[in-house]
């Protein structure tokens, strides 16, 4: 999902062996009893590393995710849509900040996470490397991309690490407006002219497959899933979440009068599930490896924002130091 790279075998994390067995047993007993682990509690190093990686990638996805939508800020068709889009993007920035703050409790600095993002050491979700070519894409992102994020984030509210779980509760409360505003955009287009409806269909044609790739590789190919499940960081498998998402969205597409761009999609009366075609994992791997349509553009924009904002941070820090020194010398006098 927002942390797909965790499934990458190249990033494999060392196992628990190095940690004291007794402490590990106590830790696992707490996990099994559904207790929350808090930042100052003992935790195995590999649990800490997995969480730092997952939470920082999740945060990076929220931050990078603002870019494709920001592309339409100045071109939203009405003031109402523009106010909505700005509020939505501001929420995503907030989500990134809740998550960075949760990751910091594990001992990594904000600066280090920023550094890992712009140097490509830390990843973000593959979905944000696709371009927003039409206004309909803003609708589709809200409906499908935020919809997929919600599917993933709801079980994370029960994650074993307290600060992450609490950040997710806050995020989930805000997400539902994101999905609804997106679907409403598509409703307006699908009830509009033929060209508008075509624009909506074209958008789904481009976003459908990348959206269902957001759930990551099939369970059989997902390297860290078992360990993350045992630690209750992950609570539902990639394939189960993907199926849930597809079952929820296919009827919503039909309500709009739109086609899902998958000729193999069919309803199985017996199981009550929508069955879908083969996912192009090659495309998925290429985008994760940095070769998607917008990877370079996204990182360049983030790097520039970071560089351009540096002087503000430095000036604020200099100002604060000067004020503090002045207050101290006044007190001494």
């Amino acid at each position: 999902m927002y942390t797909q790279a965790l499934n990458d075998p190249a990033n494999k994390i060392a196992n628990v062996a190095e940690d004291d067995e007794e402490q590990y047993a106590r830790f696992m007993a707490r996990i099994d009893a559904d207790e929350k682990i808090e930042p100052n509690d003992w935790m195995p190093d590999s649990y800490r590393k997995t969480l730092i990686r997952q939470i920082s990638q999740h945060a990076n996805s929220e931050i990078i995710g603002m870019l494709p939508e920001g592309n339409w800020n100045t071109r939203a068709p009405t003031l109402r849509r523009k106010a909505t889009l700005l509020a939505k993007i501001q929420d995503e920035g907030g989500h990134g900040l809740y998550l960075y703050s949760a990751a910091e409790t594990l001992g990594i600095s904000r600066e280090e996470m920023e550094h890992q993002l712009i140097t490509g050491k830390a990843r973000y979700s593959s979905i944000f490397n696709y371009p927003t070519l039409s206004w309909a894409d803003i609708g589709t992102i809200g409906w499908l991309v935020d919809g997929a994020a919600i599917m993933n984030q709801i079980p994370l509210c029960r994650c074993s690490f307290g600060p992450y779980a609490r950040a997710m509760v806050r995020v989930c409360k805000e997400e539902s407006f994101h999905q609804r505003q997106g679907y409403e955009i598509l409703l307006a287009l699908c009830n509009g002219s033929d060209e508008q409806k075509e624009m909506a269909q074209d958008s789904i044609n481009r976003w459908w497959w990348p959206s269902i790739m957001m759930f990551g590789p099939h369970d059989t190919d997902s390297t860290h899933s078992d360990q993350s499940m045992a630690w209750k960081i992950k609570r539902i498998s990639n394939d189960d979440l993907r199926q849930k998402f597809i079952d929820a969205t296919v009827p919503q597409a039909h309500f709009l009068g739109l086609e899902i761009p998958d000729p193999d999609m069919k309803y199985n009366e017996e199981t009550g599930h929508w069955e879908f075609g083969e996912i192009d994992w090659d495309e998925f791997k290429q985008v994760l490896a940095g070769n998607g349509p917008c990877n370079r553009e996204r990182l360049a924009a983030r790097t520039q924002a970071f560089e351009d904002g540096k002087w503000v941070q430095e000036a604020a820090l200099a100002h604060a130091n000067k004020q503090a020194a002045r207050a101290a010398s006044k007190e001494a006098a």
Binding site: N40, W42, A87, G94, L97, Y98, S101, S109, E111
Partner: protein, 97 residues
């Protein structure tokens, strides 16, 4: 915070959600001084009127109990059952007490 970091300090954020309730911890922000910490806390944690008051405090100024000492700190509280009202038998005829 490591000394080589150019990160601004971390402030813990506490919000009173409604008049009459106490402030609750919600997360943290980076800021160079208290004014900026309050502004950042407002932008990050109260976009939907989640609060009527904000406290910020430098994370480094917080003293916290050590989870390893949980037993010696909190265990004595659980074996003093005479601190609870149910420890005392009062006949039903007395009525609610």
């Amino acid at each position: 915070m490591s000394d080589k970091s150019s990160d601004s300090p971390i402030w813990e954020v506490f919000i009173r959600s409604k008049n009459g309730l106490s402030h609750n911890h919600v997360g943290s922000v980076h800021a160079t001084d208290k004014e900026m910490a309050l502004q950042n806390a407002r932008d990050v944690y109260t976009r939907r009127a989640e609060g009527t008051s904000i406290w910020v405090v430098l994370s480094s100024d917080i003293a916290a109990s050590d989870p390893m000492n949980k037993d010696e700190l909190f265990e004595p509280g659980s074996d003093k059952i005479y601190r609870h009202p149910t420890f005392y038998d009062i006949p039903d005829e007395v009525g609610h007490m």
